[in-house]
Symmetry: C2
Subunit: 342 residues, 2 copies
DNA sequence: CTGAAAGCGCTTACAG
DNA sequence: CTGAAAGCGCTTACAG
């Protein structure tokens, strides 16, 4: 029946199945030491009684939990949703649970969130573009396996997976120069401690220089519109406009229209993340694809490897997995020639 | 120092502070039975040693955890971010942890997510507009205190907090008729089992009828653009266009422009959620405000009340808290007359 | 105000 | 292939 009543324990299952308590545990955890026939009988009894493992007890006994903590900076970016989904799949494929915590601009809130994840003794932490100092990250890495997504490993015992920002910048700048844009502008969020933001900017600057162009930078608030408007008015020439991410880039679309700039001829708008916003017909943004699925599955793998080392084994040195990005080309930069590169 | 090493336990703290194990527990949990001076000394020792409670052990001993599970349908709506933030604040104000799980269109994934929350023996579950049947919800309510947000209580032991859909519909329709719109169209997502979607539609229909108007309904996919275009072409007369939420409504903005409809004269676009997207200058959407902060804090309160009842006490009957929505009026319906109603 | 002891539900050597 | 026993770190009556 699987009904409620107070919690059913392994004891109840053991009694009902006429076996010992430990056998139930072994059977339910799929130990090879249990006869298949017995295992099946126990599993059936457990299901019939509505047994559900008590994760707290299991973690305590096992000295380690089977859940991974995911810390996202916020939920305002579809990229984060993709990541969360991919990680959800990757973890459940390994029979792990995933708990998401949403950070905040306020460091205090972020720290509290991480603390509560540590209290649960998560087996590892995945942090997406965290607003934390390298020192903080390394300190957290001392307590629990950590894998960063979208940010370079700061050393210590902290791993990371990210897309090659230089390669992404080269893809974008290459695309823009092919389109004969004369200058390149970058619009990014006005933030103080977001490392990835600055890395993106400097990668773009370097790639632009290498192509003989300079990079003009404007910072924007929540709405990128005003910054884009400024940028356009100071660049009447054919301009390659790089916006920090899709969600900001959609603010640029109406501005282009208003100011009478024509994608493909005197303007080319490109951005990052290639989320569903970029794919929408109304926006149709050329955008860097970050390969969220690869990012996610890799992060989980790195974390599990580090966790499996246990407290034994010499601490693994930090690993920094760098992925080649792709560029999804759409109407915002060259109408009529949509494709995926490379 | 608060450094790492293997986990510090209450035992370690007790030894270091020269007191008994139980006293440490009492002190750290702020029991009034402990002398203030002792409490302080123990707290200091704990901090110095880098002690962090083992939530698994605490939950097990206490037979109840101090974390609430939040289940969101997805992360594609800024409304969910607001909710998550508010709940984060509300829970930490009560010294509870919040774990977020992101659902999915696939019921199997959603069930697994809920299962893993139940395995942790969360003290309660908050579900936002869940894609689950009433029966499923009631069944979950048998296992753990449940509070729904944005959906009517299905009975059982399940509470709910939501905005009055009828009142919201009346606000919108009232606003549209004031603007002399002749017909009303509703564009909502094409879904099969989203109760809130249908409730919204029927509330609108009823309010429209009461105002002597009929409601034309078009369903849309991920991009609302095409549905909006259809709607507009079949309604050349002044049209009040209600879109299911902000994120879909922004697809309508460029369509209005293309088709040369003018907000305030022959078209008035309104939507739901009043998120940051609605507030952006480029979109400036008139939108129903759902009072996320009230929704969130109320949900936490209801949950705690039900949890405090414990296994004793006659089961509380379900509560259905209904809030009066507000309407934020912006340029998409009447340019130049932005305000908040009521 | 403080300490000794039992127990939460599970896992895991260990001995058969 | 199976069972008896210890222990994970904490909380909580209970007795002083």
């Amino acid at each position: 029946m699987g009904t409620s009543g107070q919690d059913v324990t392994q004891d109840d299952v053991a009694r009902a199945a006429g076996v010992s308590r430990s056998l139930v545990s072994l059977a339910l955890n799929g130990s090879p030491k249990v006869a298949e026939e017995t295992r099946r009988r126990i599993a059936e009894t457990a299901a019939r009684l509505g047994y559900r493992v008590n994760a707290a007890a299991a973690s305590l006994a096992r000295q380690r939990s089977r859940t991974i903590g995911l810390v996202l900076p916020n939920l305002r970016n579809a990229f984060f949703e993709q990541i969360a989904h991919t990680l959800g799949d990757a973890t459940s494929a390994r029979d792990l649970a995933l708990f998401v915590t949403v950070g905040s601009e306020q460091p205090e809130v972020l720290h509290r969130a991480i603390e509560s994840l540590l209290s649960v003794r998560v087996m590892g932490l995945i942090l997406v573009s965290p607003w934390l100092s390298d020192e903080d990250l390394i300190a957290i890495g001392e307590e629990v396996p950590v894998c960063l997504i979208g940010r370079r490993s700061p050393g210590g015992r902290v791993d990371s997976v990210r897309v090659d920002e230089q390669a992404a910048a080269r893809l974008l700048i290459g695309h823009l120069t092919e389109l004969d844009m004369r200058s390149v502008g970058y619009v990014g969020p006005r933030v103080v401690n977001d490392t990835s933001r600055f890395e993106r900017e400097s990668a773009l600057r370097r790639a632009a220089l290498a192509a003989g162009l300079t990079l003009d930078v404007h910072e924007c608030g929540e709405d990128a519109g005003p910054a884009v408007r400024d940028m356009l008015s100071s660049h009447p020439e054919p301009l390659g406009l790089v916006v920090h991410n899709d969600i900001l880039a959609i603010d640029a679309v109406p501005v282009l229209r208003e100011t009478n700039r024509h994608p493909g001829s005197d303007i080319a708008l490109v951005s990052y993340d290639n989320t569903y916003l970029a794919r929408r017909g109304e926006f149709s943004l050329t955008s860097i694809d970050q390969l969220e699925d690869v990012l996610g599955t890799t992060a989980v793998r790195l974390l599990c490897e580090r966790a499996d080392d246990g407290a034994t084994a010499p601490p693994r040195s930090p690993r920094d997995v760098v992925l080649e990005p792709a560029l999804a080309i759409r109407g915002s930069s060259c109408p009529g020639r949509e494709r995926l590169t490379p």
